[in-house]
């Protein structure tokens, strides 16, 4: 039964093909039936395979489907170990829940069946990515998730913004993929194989410089896919796609591919100090910038998009700190509560008839109690309030960074890591603040708009919400300081990896209290401003805070002007350069030389064509001339004349 785990990979592909072929025949009901059942079946098989695998003491299973060449070793193979097992369960499970939600959300959409074709295709590509046993298959999956993400972002391609957002995501991802591809080439050149296991085994024999180079190129790929600074601006735009697709692709699974990949190559990463510092600093920068930007957004989905980027930054921080288990743990918990938040936002958008501006919402709690409650759970979970899921994982990340600081031999590095820790804590506080604001603006704050027509979302939407809400509460218990469940699962994968462990005893408790404090503080500030409306009750004018607050608001809603900076610096610069290239290199040099050659041929042929009179007797004269030439040759060359 070893091959069982590859069935869930190809089941979505078959479903996608089947639905595509029958897209004109099937109505919505039949399409829903097939796609839901296939998703459920694939989850069931995954679950069964995972349980079998767990009973076998998490011994990794590998399957080679096809071997192309032996040296260099290029094969198509899949593997089931702790890491891919967790991802397998996560992807198939969430895919089922979100497809259940989609059946209602995409109801009566023109391209209903297309949506499910793309969706299933995405699930297939994501599973290809996570289940691969070598870099090449992973790259296939990597590119295919990019493609399906593009298809789903610009799903409503009649909207110019959606089409543009799809292009943007694709182009920015391409920058990352370029780095990934170069990394793969160096890997093949160095190790002569793509296989994860072999590469990781032999990575100890390779010089640190090579490791650093490979890791940095792969990291560029991870930055592109996981929307890290500076390649993050595509993710907020990607919210143009259908909300359930955003929930699965741009929150729960695809964007975590970078994190997954980095954990996959962790045996290699740990050898390079440079890469660790690069990862942690970029992760931190991303977490802070995105959290800051989320503070003043009014689009219900954009807040969540920036929040996703920020949480991905947390995962990168965990990887940089060497806490690979914590990264995967946060990936799992984040997948649940972010999917919950996205689906909740989808339910709100659906009930508000595709209104996404939070300023036109407010006071929806009474109209949509279930959605409000579930989104409240999601908000608490992401803010890190115990005992919800987010607390356990975020606290583990913070504690790991702190522990890493204690492990440093030099004081400078120690101070640096303590600084990282405090900034991460600040990002956590900001997270609680903007998520509290998000919830309050939608469900609590009274904007004086009449919402009496708004109704609770249909059952097909609330049920997945409730399911995810339950998971958001309890999923955190898979890896608490008292029960290292996930760590055991990942044990085989991270066999030779030095994982940063949590501090023991009283230090852990203190750290936990600090992180809970940060979460509560953020929520309380949010409540004071948006719920209690503090600024209206006390006279702010004597503090002269008007202009700093406006500045912060302006910077936040414009994402620190990073996009404008990018546009001015890269896009228009690139445009100018390419225009010049088009005129000078293409127009003058290439076209010029081609035109010159052709006109030279034209001129010379016009001259020589004068000899081609078409008159036979002229040709006879030419014949005579060459006869003379030939005879002279015979007479005057020494060879013949002797």
């Amino acid at each position: 039964m070893d091959f069982l785990f590859i069935l869930p990979i190809f089941l979505p592909l078959l479903t996608a093909i089947f639905l595509f072929l029958n897209r004109r025949i099937f109505n919505e009901l039949v399409t829903n039936f097939f796609t839901l059942n296939s998703a459920l079946l694939s989850f069931a098989i995954s679950f069964f395979a995972f349980v079998t695998f767990a009973l076998d003491k998490f011994k990794p299973i590998s399957i080679t489907l096809y071997q192309w060449t032996r040296t260099p070793d290029i094969t198509i193979g899949f593997t089931l170990d702790g890491l891919s097992g967790v991802m397998l369960l996560l992807v198939t499970g969430l895919s089922f829940v979100i497809q259940l939600f989609s059946t209602s959300y995409m109801e009566e959409d023109e391209k209903h069946s297309n949506y499910f074709v793309y969706f299933n295709f995405f699930v297939f590509s994501m599973l290809l990515l996570v289940m691969s046993s070598n870099f090449l298959v992973m790259f296939f999956g990597w590119e295919l998730v990019g493609l399906s993400s593009y298809l789903l972002i610009s799903f409503w391609s009649q909207k110019p913004a959606a089409a543009k957002a799809g292009n943007k995501a694709f182009v920015i991802n391409r920058i990352g993929d370029f780095g990934f591809l170069i990394g793969l080439m160096i890997i093949l050149n160095t190790f002569n194989t793509f296989d994860f296991h072999t590469v990781m085994q032999s990575s100890t024999n390779i010089s640190e410089n090579t490791i650093t180079t490979i890791s940095l190129f792969l990291l560029l790929g991870a930055f592109g896919k996981s929307a890290q600074f500076p390649l993050f601006s595509w993710l907020p735009d990607a919210m143009e796609g259908p909300t359930p697709a955003s929930a699965l692709i741009h929150a729960a699974t695809m964007v975590t591919a970078g994190v997954f990949m980095l954990v996959r190559i962790s045996p290699m990463l740990q050898h390079s100090v440079t890469v660790s510092i690069v990862i942690i600093s970029f992760g931190l920068l991303t977490a802070l910038i995105a959290a800051f930007s989320a503070m003043n957004q009014y689009d219900i989905k954009k807040v969540l998009a920036y929040s996703t980027i920020s949480q991905l930054g947390f995962m990168f921080i965990a990887i940089g700190a060497g806490a690979y288990v914590a990264a995967i743990f946060h990936l799992v918990t984040h997948a649940f509560f972010k999917a919950l938040l996205f689906l909740g936002a989808g339910a709100v958008i659906h009930s508000m008839h595709h209104e996404q501006d939070m300023r036109k919402m407010g006071g929806l709690r009474k109209r949509m109690p279930i959605t409000a409650g579930m989104m409240g759970i999601g908000t608490l979970a992401i803010s890190g309030i115990p005992p919800l899921a987010g607390f356990w994982s975020k606290d583990e990340i913070l504690a790991s960074v702190f522990a890493k600081a204690g492990m440093q031999n030099e004081l400078v590095f120690s101070i640096m890591y303590y600084l990282f820790w405090s900034l991460t804590l600040g990002a956590a506080l900001l997270t609680a603040f903007y998520m509290g604001r998000h919830w309050l603006l939608i469900f609590e704050k009274d904007n004086g708009i009449d919402h009496s027509e708004v109704q609770e979302a249909p059952k097909a939407m609330t049920r997945p919400l409730i399911l995810l809400g339950i998971f958001s509460i309890f999923i955190g218990f898979i890896n608490t300081p008292f029960f290292h469940g996930l760590e055991k699962v990942l044990h085989e994968t991270l066999e030779n990896v030095e994982v940063t462990h949590l501090p023991e005893g009283i230090a852990l408790v203190v750290l936990a209290v600090i992180s809970i404090g940060a979460g509560f503080t953020g929520l309380i500030i949010a409540f004071l401003i948006f719920g209690f409306e503090l600024h209206k009750r006390i006279n702010l004018e004597k503090f002269k805070l008007e202009s700093p607050i406006n500045l912060v608001k302006d910077l936040s809603s414009n994402v620190l002007y990073l996009n404008k900076f990018g546009n001015v610096f890269f896009v228009s610069g690139m445009k100018n350069v390419s225009r010049k290239v088009a005129v000078i290199v293409d127009g003058l040099i290439i076209d010029g030389s081609v035109n010159f050659i052709s006109s030279a041929f034209g001129k010379t042929s016009r001259i020589t064509s004068a000899t081609q009179t078409g008159l036979v007797r002229n040709y006879v004269v030419y014949f005579g001339l060459f006869l003379v030439l030939l005879i002279s040759l015979f007479i005057f060359t020494p060879l013949v004349a002797q």
Binding site: T613, L615, R617, N618, V621, G624, L625, L627, V628, I631, S632, I635
Partner: protein, 175 residues
């Protein structure tokens, strides 16, 4: 003496015939000059012991090819006068120039070798008789491939001649 006679008589006939071909105004006379040339060439072949080639020369050239020529002359008529002045600009100049250079080259060669040919290889003592047996024996063994190819060429030429001479307009009128 007889040897010289048997060479010079056909040789002079041959040159006279060739000149008639070039200079006669009436196409029929040209054709007769060509016949004369070909027949005297056949005689020269016999003096060169190539009897079978001489026979074939008589049959194919002086017989078949010449009949073809005369047939065409009959078709296009003999009364058309060729215009005497040259219609192509500079042709006379070119022709005389080329011919003069060619002749002076030949004269140079003749004077340079003091009117004696140096063939480098001496003539063999024995005589090869060009009998049909000998020719066939070599033609159908050593030269069998060129022979087959040349037969393909003949078929193609025949087909081409039919295609070229076929007048579709006339045929359509009849039908």
């Amino acid at each position: 003496m007889f040897e010289l006679l048997i060479f010079f008589l056909p040789a002079s006939l041959l040159i006279i015939g060739a000149l008639i071909v070039v200079f006669a105004k009436n196409p029929v006379h040209n054709a007769m000059g060509l016949v004369m040339t070909l027949v005297s060439l056949a005689i020269i072949y016999i003096t060169l012991n190539a009897t079978f080639v001489a026979m074939v020369q008589m049959l194919v050239y002086a017989g078949a090819v010449m009949t073809l020529f005369l047939f065409v002359i009959m078709m296009i008529g003999v009364d058309k006068k060729e215009q005497t002045s040259d219609s192509i600009k500079g042709q006379t100049f070119l022709v005389s120039g080329v011919f003069l250079i060619l002749m002076s080259l030949l004269a140079y060669v003749a004077v340079n070798s003091e009117f004696s040919w140096n063939l480098w290889f001496p003539a063999v003592e024995y005589v090869v008789e060009g009998t049909p047996q000998l020719i066939a024996g070599t033609l159908f063994t050593t030269w069998i491939f060129p022979f087959e190819i040349i037969s393909i060429l003949l078929i193609v030429a025949t087909a081409a001649a039919i295609a070229l001479a076929y007048d579709s307009k006339i045929r359509n009128k009849d039908a």
